[in-house]
Amino acid sequence: MGDPERLYVITGGPDGAARAPLDLVTMIVARDEPSPTVQPEQAAILRLCRAPLSVAELSAHLTLPFSVVTALLTELLTAELVESRAPVVRAALPDRSLLEAVMHGLQRL
C-alpha cells in the first residue's frame, strides 16, 4: 500500500504561493501535449484533459487530493499548458423550472 513519495514532493512544498482560483467544477482543458520535462502527474493531467474535465474529476482520476491537483494546475496554468474555464453560468439565480425538475426527479427516486 502507499507510495514512497509524499504529497509535498508532488506539489513542490506546502508554501506553494498563491493557488490559482480553481473550483471543484472548473473545467480544465489541455492546450498542448505533455512535454517530456513535466512531472508525471502533470503529464497525466495533460493526457486526461484532452477533452474538458472538471477539477473534481481530475482529482478522482489521479487519486490526489483537491489541493494537490490545484497546485499542479497552477503550475500548468502559469506555463500556459492548460486552460481553465469557469462552468457556464446560465443565470444568476437558478431557473425555477430547473429546480422543479430536480425536485420531481428526486421525488421519483
Binding site: Y8, T63, A101
Partner: protein, 546 residues
C-alpha cells in the same frame, strides 16, 4: 659430549710442550752450573737445582691443567649460550604466532558465533601444530577469548536495544504518515489546513529517516518492506521526501525502470542520505541535480551539487568512512562524527551490494554516483506510464483494472481515531432502513467516477420482478466484490462510442431542463411500477452515461 672432549686433548699438547720448555731450561742451567762450579758447591747446587727444576715442572703441569679446565668450561658455556639463545628465539616465535595467527583465527571463529570453549577445541586441540601449546599460553588465549566474547555480547545487546527503539519509532512514524495521508485527503479542499498537514507530514518523514538510520547502523533492515516493484522515479521522489530541502532537488531523465520490492527501501534511504549531504553542504540557492541512467552493471544514479568541492583530504576521509562502514561500523566511533550519512550509506551499500563513489562535479561541487546492481532492477510494470501517485490513473479506459483498485479503497479504509469528517463511515441510506445498508460501488460511469447504489434497492425492486433479464444485462447483483468497469453493457468495450468527458454533465442539465433527447423517454415517464424498478434503475444508469 664425546666429540666435545676431543679438542682440549689436541690443544693440550703444544701447551704442554711450551710448559716443558722452562723445566728443560731449568734442568740445563742446573746441569751447567753444577759442572762449572767448584766441587764444594756442587752438591748443594745440584740439590737446589733439582728442586727448582721440579718446582718449575710442577708449576708448568699445574698451569697446563688449569688451562685445560678453563677451555672445557668455556666450551661448555658457549654451548649453553647457544642452546638458550635458540630457546629464546623459539619462544619469541611462538609468541608472535600466538599473537598473529592463533589469536586472530580464534577471534574470527568467535565472531562467527562459536563459544570460547568451542573455539579452543577447534583452533588449539584440533590442530596438531598447537596441540602442545604451553599451559600458560593456553590460559592466556582462553581468557582473551572470554573477554572478547563478553564484550561482543554486551555490544550486541546494546545494539539490539537501540534497534528495537528505532523500530518502535519507525512504527509510530509509519502510522503517523498513513494517518496524515488520510487527513490530507479529507482536508484536501481546505488549502490552509492542507498546507499545514503537508508541513507536519514532512517533519514526520524526517523523523522516520533518522529512525531508519539508527536501525541501519544497528545492522538491521531499514524501515518497511515493499511487496511490489516501485518505479525508480518514485523511489527517487521518495528519497526527496525524506530530506529537509527537497525543493532544491531536480530530477532529470530518470531511467524508466522499476526497483524490486526488497531493494526499494534501502535504495530510498541511501539516496535520501546522499541527497541530504548534497543539499546540506552546498549553498542554499544552488540546485541539486539527479540523473539516473542505465549502465552495464545496472543503474547509475548521479547526484551532483553545486557546493564547495571536496578537498582531496575530505574526499579521502569520506571514502574511508564509506569503506569503514562497509567493513562494519564500530558504533563507539560514531559518537563524535556528525556525518552519520556516509556511515549509513556505506552500511547499506555493503548490505545490498550497491556501489558508491564521490567525485568532483562539473558544477564544482561533489558528484556522488550510486550504482544499483542489475539484479534488483526490473523493466517495471508499464514503464511508459506516469509514475507514482496517480500512476493508476492513466488515460481513460486504458486500463481495465483501474477501478478495481479504487473500488477497494473506501472499503478497506480504517477509520482513523481522530475527530473530523469521516467519509469512510457510510451513512445509512435515507430511503431504505433495511438490512445491508452499505452502499457498494458497483458501477463506473463513462468518466470513471464511481456510482454508488445502496444495497437495499435492488432486492426491493426485484423481489416481484418478472421483466428482469437474467442475461448479461446491466442489472448485476451488487456484490461486495470489485466490479470491473466495462463488464456490463452500459460501458461498451469499444472506446470509440464513448462520449467525451464533461459531455454527460451537459446532457444531464439538458435532460433536467426538459430538452428532449432520444432515450430519456422512460426516465421522464412518471413513477414506474414496482415491476419496472430494476429496469428503470438501469435506464437511469444509461441516461447518466449519455
Amino acid at each position: 659430549m664425546v666429540r666435545l672432549e676431543a679438542p682440549p686433548n689436541d690443544q693440550a699438547s703444544p701447551a704442554v710442550r711450551a710448559l716443558l720448555l722452562p723445566a728443560a731450561l731449568m734442568a740445563a742451567a742446573t746441569a751447567t752450573v753444577v759442572v762449572l762450579a767448584a766441587d764444594t758447591a756442587r752438591l748443594p747446587l745440584m740439590l737446589y737445582g733439582t728442586a727448582a727444576t721440579a718446582l718449575v715442572g710442577w708449576c708448568a703441569v699445574g698451569l697446563s691443567r688449569r688451562r685445560r679446565t678453563i677451555g672445557v668450561l668455556h666450551e661448555h658455556y658457549a654451548h649453553r649460550l647457544t642452546v638458550l639463545e635458540r630457546r629464546l628465539a623459539a619462544h619469541d616465535e611462538e609468541t608472535v604466532r600466538l599473537g598473529k595467527v592463533l589469536m586472530p583465527a580464534a577471534i574470527h571463529r568467535l565472531r562467527q558465533g562459536e563459544s570460547p570453549a568451542e573455539v579452543m577445541r577447534a583452533v588449539v586441540d584440533g590442530d596438531e601444530r598447537y596441540r602442545e601449546l604451553p599451559a600458560a599460553q593456553r590460559s592466556l588465549l582462553r581468557s582473551v577469548l572470554q573477554i572478547v566474547d563478553d564484550e561482543e555480547a554486551m555490544r550486541d545487546s546494546a545494539q539490539r536495544s537501540f534497534v528495537n527503539i528505532a523500530r518502535r519509532v519507525q512504527a509510530i512514524v509509519h502510522q503517523q504518515a498513513s494517518e496524515l495521508r488520510e487527513m490530507e485527503e479529507h482536508h484536501g479542499r481546505n488549502p490552509d489546513v492542507f498546507d499545514d498537514l503537508l508541513r507536519i507530514d514532512h517533519g514526520t518523514a524526517l523523523i522516520g529517516r533518522l529512525a531508519d538510520s539508527i536501525a541501519v547502523l544497528g545492522k538491521a533492515r531499514p524501515g518497511r518492506q515493499w511487496s511490489r516493484p516501485v518505479p525508480l522515479f518514485s523511489v527517487l521522489r521518495g528519497a526527496m521526501s525524506r530530506i529537509l530541502e527537497y525543493q532544491r532537488v531536480d530530477l532529470h531523465s530518470i531511467a524508466k525502470v522499476a526497483v524490486i520490492g526488497t531493494a526499494v527501501e534501502p535504495l530510498i534511504h541511501a539516496c535520501a542520505e546522499l541527497l541530504d549531504n548534497a543539499t546540506r553542504y552546498s549553498p542554499p540557492q544552488t540546485r541539486v541535480h539527479v540523473t539516473a541512467v542505465e549502465v552495464q552493471t545496472g543503474i547509475a544514479i548521479e547526484i551532483e551539487d553545486g557546493g564547495v568541492s571536496l578537498s582531496e583530504e575530505a574526499r579521502a576521509r569520506a571514502e574511508r568512512m564509506l569503506a569503514q562502514a562497509q567493513a562494519g561500523i564500530d558504533l563507539n566511533d560514531l559518537g563524535e562524527t556528525p556525518r552519520l550519512g556516509m556511515a549509513v550509506v556505506g552500511r547499506l551499500c555493503q548490505m545490498y551490494n550497491l556501489q558508491v563513489s564521490l567525485r568532483q562535479s562539473a558544477y564544482g561541487g561533489v558528484r556522488a554516483v550510486l550504482i544499483v546492481p542489475r539484479d534488483v532492477v526490473t523493466t517495471g510494470p508499464a514503464p511508459g506510464v506516469a509514475h507514482g501517485i496517480g500512476a493508476a490513473a492513466g488515460p481513460r479506459g486504458s486500463s481495465v483494472d483501474l477501478p478495481t483498485k479504487d473500488v477497494l479503497r473506501p472499503q478497506n479504509r480504517v477509520p482513523r481515531p481522530v475527530t473530523g469528517p469521516r467519509r469512510s463511515v457510510p451513512l445509512p441510506p435515507v430511503a431504505s432502513g433495511t438490512e445491508g445498508d452499505i452502499p457498494v460501488v458497483t458501477e463506473w460511469t463513462e468518466n470513471g467516477l464511481p456510482q454508488r447504489r445502496s444495497r437495499g434497492r435492488a432486492p426491493l425492486g426485484s423481489h416481484n420482478l418478472g421483466l428482469r433479464t437474467p442475461g448479461p444485462g446491466p442489472d448485476r447483483t451488487p456484490g461486495p466484490g470489485p466490479a470491473p468497469r466495462g463488464s456490463g453493457q452500459g460501458v461498451a468495450p469499444e472506446p470509440a462510442n464513448r462520449p467525451g468527458p464533461g459531455v454527460w454533465l451537459e446532457a444531464f442539465t439538458k435532460a433536467v431542463n426538459g430538452t428532449p433527447q432520444e432515450p430519456p423517454a422512460e426516465a421522464g415517464e412518471g413513477p414506474a411500477g414496482p415491476g419496472e424498478r430494476g429496469a428503470s434503475d438501469d435506464v437511469r444508469g444509461k441516461g447518466e452515461l449519455k
